[in-house]
Symmetry: C2
Subunit: 272 residues, 2 copies
């Protein structure tokens, strides 16, 4: 079945690298060196890349939607428009398919999740972050992450996460939180709370292999002063993001999109 997610954030926040790390493959090829005399791109384009993958023995048709140019211009007013339009048009596609006589094989192209990359300034959310998230949080399962979190010390990450959550609460932004159910056992509930406590995830991405501290090859980034290991939970929350986005809550993300976000969109649309 289809799983579609949007990644949004300004250029250079490690988005392509993170997607490649999540699926352990080069979905996004190494960027070619651009001609310095070429015009810097300043409008927002929508691009998609798809792949058939297998996760937990489940075959998925994965689509990653990207919006290069977002946040990169001198004037970013309305830079969210092409993104909102893409989310809406995928809802419209589904709406139209639902009205056909033969509905048995509707292809679900709706956006099941939007991962928003926050620049690791160490301060708090920027005006663009807040405006963007408020524009999309009623249409998608919003998962904000702290990009390139190896820029921040453990203490800075803890403070930054707190300030981001304060901003999110003050601004009334809805972010996706893994649901717990009454029938869940103790262990599942605890694991879900542990996951929730780390939101927004501080992520690091890398498809390069480096020698980890146990001497074996691990995915990470090698600096002169040390090696950060992407899959090491003491180094960053990459494993948590993978757990939320792909391993444990894929079904929840698709279901919330279908039953809540899409239905709200449909009601709103048919009313107007």
């Amino acid at each position: 079945f289809n799983f579609n997610f949007f990644i949004v954030g300004e250029s250079g926040l490690g988005k392509s690298t993170l997607v490649n790390t999540l699926f352990n493959r080069e979905l996004y090829p190494q960027k070619e060196v651009r001609d310095p005399s070429a015009e810097k791109q300043t409008n927002v384009k929508i691009e998609t890349v798809s792949a058939d993958i297998e996760e937990n023995g489940v075959k998925l048709h994965l689509t990653v939607i990207d919006a290069p140019g977002f946040g990169d211009a001198i004037n970013n007013s309305d830079s969210w428009e092409p993104i909102i339009e893409e989310i809406n048009s995928r809802f419209d596609q589904y709406l139209e398919a639902e009205t056909k006589i033969n509905r048995t094989t509707i292809i679900d192209n709706r956006v099941h999740s939007l991962v928003y990359f926050i620049e690791p300034t160490g301060h708090s959310l920027k005006p663009l972050d807040i405006t963007f998230m408020k524009k999309v949080h009623t249409k998608v399962n919003l998962i904000p992450v702290i990009a390139k979190s190896d820029t921040l010390t453990e203490e800075e990450i803890a403070d930054f996460k707190q300030r981001i959550l304060d901003d999110i609460n003050t601004q009334g932004i809805n972010i996706f939180r893994p649901p717990t159910y009454e029938k869940d056992d103790e262990e599942t509930i605890l694991s879900c709370q542990e996951l929730m406590s780390r939101i927004p995830f501080a992520v690091v991405g890398s498809t390069d292999e480096v020698s980890g501290k146990d001497g074996n090859n691990v995915r990470g980034r090698a600096y002169p002063w040390g090696i950060i290991e992407v899959d090491n939970e003491d180094h960053c929350d990459f494993v948590r993001l993978r757990q939320l986005l792909i391993r444990d809550y894929l079904e929840e993300l698709r279901e919330t999109t279908a039953k809540k976000l899409y239905e709200n969109y449909r009601t709103e649309k048919l009313r107007n």
Copy 2:
């Protein structure tokens, strides 16, 4: 005598920390946690902080000028205006003082250098970087630096520096380069070339003390995977920036401002 320099760059690039690190004192106090419901600042303010310090046995009246809000709004068009105005008004102040009868004690408040902080995206210069630098490079000694360079591996820094220099050359941006003189001895020339070869400097700032690899206390940042030492030349170019800005070329910066940049401004102004 006076030494005045401007630091410019978007919020969260470690500017206050770097200034504190350069002079080894809290010129910029620790930022207080702002109320999340407070409006995010979106206009550019000009702020100055001064201190009397001693460098190489020379007493300096140091002034650091800062432009908080630059690059932080959704729409940053014309965000450079307050900065250009500040540079111009300091030239005007000097111009006016020069025309007075008693000129023996003119106070030099002109901007002797502008350090521009480049976000460590790893890609190339952003439209705002290029536009800003082109607006100021004929008025100040421009020193671009790669902010928070501990975000990048050694290889990424080398590539990024190359792309930045390509952009700077393509766009015809003039950056300050330490001059060599015919009378210089071999060692000075080599040391100057070595300094030039590292431009733009990849800087890291910290006033925190951490245990360096020799066990002694050094200024740095402690991560779970290692400790970066600010004064270690294998870790970053902080020492080089300090050398360029304060230790070896302070006189050159003041002189170029007085004899070349100010004179150009004055000629331009008197002509119109």
